[in-house]
Amino acid sequence: MAVLTLLARRLAAALVLLGVLSALTFGLLAASPGGPEQVLLGSRPSTAETRAAIRAEYHLDDPFPVRYARWLGDAVRGDFGVSIYSREPVTDVIADRMPVTASLAGYALLLTVAVGVPLGLVAAMRRGGALDQGITLAALVTLAIPPFALSILLLYGFAVALGWFPVFGAGETPLDRIVHLTLPAIALAGAQTAMVVRQMRAAALDLAGQDFLTFARARGLPRRRIWLGYALRNAALPVLTVGGLLLAANLTGSLFVEQAFGLHGLGALLIGAIGQKDIPVVQALVLLGGAIVVAVNLLIDLAYLAVDPRVRHGAVTS
């Protein structure tokens, strides 16, 4: 029941969000100087007839609301137009790029969780010790390095100087892809891992002061149960929220990383599309970004629902 109302509420909110987002970007792009003519014509002299033909084809002379309504009508039917730059349907362009970004984001998330959670817990356990200080400081520094700089450093260090990893590309076979995406994923995961470490540490410390943990120990529960059933599970809640936000942030983070590692993912696509005034692509990407954030938030809510009975029974809202 709670699930259904939640889903319904989220869906409505998502529609509003996507509507606002699309109108906003559409308006922005329409208002910005220069139009698709320039892209279509290249940086060469053009004839007046050609320009007129293009304006007609792309309905550039229609008033803004009409253009937006047309776009919206098509979008609702799943037609996001044709890329001005490559003349492919936008959906194809995006579908083509999606696997790279998705694997990159997934890989990075995996690294984040696999490294961040244990490190955070260890730091909390050894609170104040050398290990804790080391981990905390390392997290701080990682958090402070701009992601693009981290990309460059990794690229130089591990791909060029040491030659352990390839310099660019996403690889073709699955194994190849893992090898190719390792450095980008590390670059992407760096700051997030640091966030998770901090969050996990704080959550675990907070937890350590809780009565129910002391009570669990007082009952002589085995260590494994205390760690898994109590520490990890209860600390998971705050970490989950951060994790979700990070997943959404992957989207933007991948922009820098893809750029630096020469990956043809969605981030590089966006940068390119902005530079080329490829409005249909930019528009679709922004919407996709919005949809992903909405979806991630929904996932977090569902996860809360699964983990926290208080939310499940509507006692509190997350």
Binding site: A144, P147, L251, T252, I274
Partner: protein, 264 residues
């Protein structure tokens, strides 16, 4: 540790204020014949491809590298604190409306929108800085609001209301000081995020005019020189990282100190 922290930030502040005077060379002075060269007695951190002194540019750039993030942090903090206090204290329709808008804003792919806005509209830093402040604010409003909500239910706040004090006085004199640890820590986090993000924008070629001695821009402009003079790109990266680390650490420390100080 604390000494290092304070030293780093103090040096950064000095560089930000007096960097242009301290610079051994005119940061814009070119020596095209010299081009990019490694560190030497004349140029401690070498030169970039236009033969400009890297150290001088770092010093001169400290101002812009730090000023804008500070501006973002101040703007964000002022805005989010007052709006968050208002929503959390007033509740009612003000709160409901604000929360709806914030829900919406938070669900936006923020950085993406920022890049599209600044990238497409072009224009300079002003837009980037403004957009960033707008981006950071909703999350902070939410935090301040929830803290306000918690504080307003406490006995001292109810006592203040019972005394018939004006709402503004209750909010700013009674509640605000008790939110200080979070507000201060958040302000520093905003500063760090802005510092790193603005550098990122420069990296994408969005923002400041070419040749401006700015740390983020220097990384972008000089990263092709890693073989000729690595310091031209590495030094600004190191500086950004150092300042950001110190600021985060300071935020953590301040949060602890302030919340201990206010502990009941």
């Amino acid at each position: 540790m604390r000494g290092v922290l304070v030293t780093v930030l103090a040096l950064a502040a000095v560089a930000a204020v007096a960097g242009s005077w301290l610079a051994p060379y005119d940061p814009a002075a070119q020596d095209l014949a010299l081009g990019a060269a490694g560190p030497s007695a004349a140029h401690w951190l070498g030169t970039d491809d236009l033969g400009r002194d890297v150290l001088s540019r770092l010093l001169a750039g400290a101002g812009s590298a730090l000023f804008w993030p500070v501006l973002v942090a101040l703007g964000t903090t002022a805005l989010s604190t007052s709006l968050g206090l208002l929503a959390g204290y007033r509740l009612g329709w003000v709160d409901a409306l604000m929360m709806r808008i914030i829900d919406l804003a938070i669900a936006m792919p923020g950085m993406l929108v920022l890049i599209v806005v600044v990238g497409v509209l072009g224009g300079g830093y002003g837009w980037a800085v403004l957009a960033m402040a707008v981006l950071f604010t909703p999350g902070d409003i939410r935090v301040v609001r929830s803290l306000t909500l918690a504080q307003r239910g406490l006995a001292y706040a109810e006592a203040a209301r019972t005394l018939g004090l004006r709402p503004a006085r209750v909010m700013f004199r009674h509640l605000l000081p008790n939110l200080a640890p979070t507000v201060v820590a958040n302000a520093l986090l905003s500063f760090v995020a802005a510092l790193v993000s603005l550098a990122g924008l420069s990296f994408l070629g969005i923002g400041l005019p070419a040749g401006t001695p700015d740390w983020g821009l220097m990384v972008e402009e000089n990263r092709g020189l890693l073989d000729l003079n690595p310091w031209a790109a590495l030094a600004p990266v190191i500086l950004i990282t150092l300042v950001a680390t110190a600021a985060t650490l300071l935020g953590d420390r301040l949060f602890e100190t302030l919340s201990e100080g206010g502990a009941r």
